[in-house]
């Protein structure tokens, strides 16, 4: 448990933190968020005493470490910072072992830990343990940064915008990984970000700070439901659920599905399926009008003698029109077991398809925001 009691921090005349009070229970994923300069990093660094408060107390499991040597405390609190956290003069294994070594664990124990941790994030030991940070990608480096923070099994881990410098894809993967590790290992994590999508996705509790004070402290649901101020609301922005406007099929649709002209031969068609990794293609006529679908199964069954795909065209797949209410199609996909619905324009040309995948993406985006 981490408790801030009347914490004040000043730099010269500027008061950076005003009487900060909050409690973080064990095992919670807490995200500090707020505008730049609001004091997130300062608050975080007070927990491992890289910064000392001017007034007030910070208790960790009920104990005030002020005035005591912080070295030991820090060895029991994991710490991940943005970008350059890994020591470039050490291999991956050495980096991960830093804190266990400081705690006096022997080489064998450290090595075992390195094995175990690398396995947890699917980086094979043989391949990665002896690489240097500059031989890894940004995402891999930050993974190792997280592992290093976990290596001595600290109950608390602090992370300051750990994924800020990563591309959106890698960030997403690492977010999932950290969330998974946190659940599995029951860590208390204090995580700083200025990305609301990230906060909503990761947090059990969000602490929204502004000007060195807490604007709102609430679980993501509650914050979405009842933002405490306009500032919080503007941060939530696009992440808020709007229940007013109905959704149309085009909202769930994936454009550019794989199509094929009905004159084409079966072999060519099969080849295109293999190349695109799909098992059916939409068949169109010379004017791009939708005719039906052709599946790899039908090609296999009777395709050889057919030569052209024309006789194999099936019209069983459900079609809908642009502007139709999405709910019916969504229900149909969820209940029928069919894998897609074709969306047509009014002139019967193909606009796109709705798949379970494209559906899930939209739902996820409305919940967590579509970050880039």
């Amino acid at each position: 448990m981490i408790q801030f009691e009347h914490v004040v921090k000043r730099y010269g005349k500027n008061t950076i933190l005003h009487d900060l009070n909050f409690t973080i229970p064990d095992g919670q994923f807490v995200v500090l968020i707020g505008p730049s300069g609001c004091g997130k990093t300062t608050s975080l660094k007070m927990i491992n005493r890289l910064i000392e408060p001017d007034e007030g107390r910070i208790l960790i499991d009920g104990e005030d470490y002020a005035g005591k040597n912080p070295v030991n405390l820090r060895r029991h609190i994991g710490y991940v910072i943005q970008q350059i956290g890994l020591f470039p003069n050490m291999t991956v294994a050495q980096n991960i072992s830093v804190v266990p070594r400081l705690l006096g664990q022997d080489k064998a124990a450290c090595d075992k830990k390195v094995h175990e941790l690398l396995e947890m994030v699917d980086l094979p030991y043989e391949q990665y343990a002896h690489k240097y940070p500059n031989e890894l990608s940004g995402g891999q480096q930050q993974r190792i940064g997280v592992l290093r923070a976990l290596a001595a099994s600290p109950p608390i881990v602090l992370m300051d915008e750990p994924f800020g410098a990563l591309d959106p894809m890698t960030r997403e993967v690492l977010q999932d990984e950290v969330k998974r590790l946190q659940r599995k290992l029951h860590k208390t994590i204090v995580f700083v970000t200025h990305d609301m999508g990230e906060a909503l996705k990761m947090a059990d509790i969000i602490i929204f700070m502004n000007g060195g004070q807490i604007e709102q402290m609430a679980p993501p649901e509650k914050m979405l439901e009842a933002p405490a101020s306009d500032l919080v609301r503007s941060f939530l922005g696009k992440h808020q659920l709007s229940d007013s406007n109905p959704l149309y099929v085009e909202d769930f649709m994936r454009t550019n599905p794989y199509t094929v002209d009905f004159h084409r031969g079966v072999l060519e068609c099969a080849e295109k399926m293999a190349r695109s990794g799909v098992d059916t293609l939409l068949v169109t006529d010379d004017d791009d009008h939708y005719l039906g679908t052709v599946s790899i199964r039908d090609i296999k069954l009777k395709g050889r003698e057919a030569g052209s795909i024309e006789p194999l065209i099936s019209t069983e797949v459900r079609t809908v029109c642009l502007g139709d209410d999405a709910q019916e199609s969504v229900n149909y996909l969820l209940t029928s077991g069919e894998s897609y619905v074709v969306v047509l324009r009014p002139d019967q040309t193909v606009a796109g398809i709705i798949t379970k995948n494209s559906m899930a993406k939209v739902v996820a985006n409305t919940l967590w925001g579509d970050d880039k």
Partner: protein, 214 residues
């Protein structure tokens, strides 16, 4: 040619050995001093280095011969005079590079190290010095190469070394003698440089090599 060797061979070998001795002792002493003082300076508040470093660079511009001369008047004509003078000069590049090398370590690494629970000594030994190592060894290289040429000065106060040949050659207008002194010194400098480059490769981990600074 063989005439030359039968006449001067013995003396040449002795001079090389003396020269080498001066260089080895003063570079070692200078390196230890420079490393120690450089680390010390990096521990002090920046206002100290802001004063000390410029003073050192002024001092460094005092011609070696002046300094050796002064020491000679003070201590006398013993090898210690040459060695002290050379050590002081050998110290400068190491001191400066140690200090700048440590200063150049990005603050993020030190913060990460402190955040991991390292004591300031551990941060120094495990993070700052290894990261500064390419620069420090660059300083060592410079100081070795310089010392090899500065050691020539010690013969000016009658302490021997390859300078004997050069000064004799100059005063008697004998080019062979000048070359006989200069070539071994040059070869020594090149070999020492190459040796230190090898050491550099050995002690600098792969992770730092791409960003190695001379």
């Amino acid at each position: 040619m063989s005439d030359f060797f039968s006449m001067y061979g013995q003396m040449l070998i002795r001079s090389i050995l003396i020269h080498l001795k001066y260089v080895l002792i003063s570079v070692s002493a200078g390196f230890a001093l420079g490393l120690g003082l450089g680390i010390l300076l990096s521990r002090l508040p920046p206002k100290f280095s802001a004063v000390i470093l410029p003073i050192l660079s002024i001092f460094q511009t005092v011609p070696g011969i002046v300094f050796i001369g002064l020491l000679f008047l003070w201590i006398g004509m013993i090898p210690a005079t040459a060695i002290i003078a050379l050590s002081v000069y050998a110290m400068f590049p190491v001191l400066k590079n140690t200090y700048t090398g440590i200063e150049q370590v990005p603050a993020g690494y030190c913060e990460a190290a402190v955040g991991c629970g390292m004591t300031s000594m551990q941060v120094l030994v495990r993070v700052e010095l290894p990261l500064a190592m390419p620069t420090i060894i660059g300083g060592l290289r410079m100081s070795t190469v310089y010392t090899i040429s500065w050691a020539v000065l010690s013969s000016m106060i009658g302490l021997g070394g390859l300078g004997d040949f050069i000064y004799q050659g100059v005063s008697s207008n004998n080019n062979t003698l000048i070359i006989a002194g200069a070539i071994p010194a040059a070869v020594m400098a090149v070999l020492a440089g190459a040796l230190i480059d090898r050491v550099q490769k050995k002690v600098v981990p792969r992770g730092l090599r791409k960003e190695a600074i001379r």
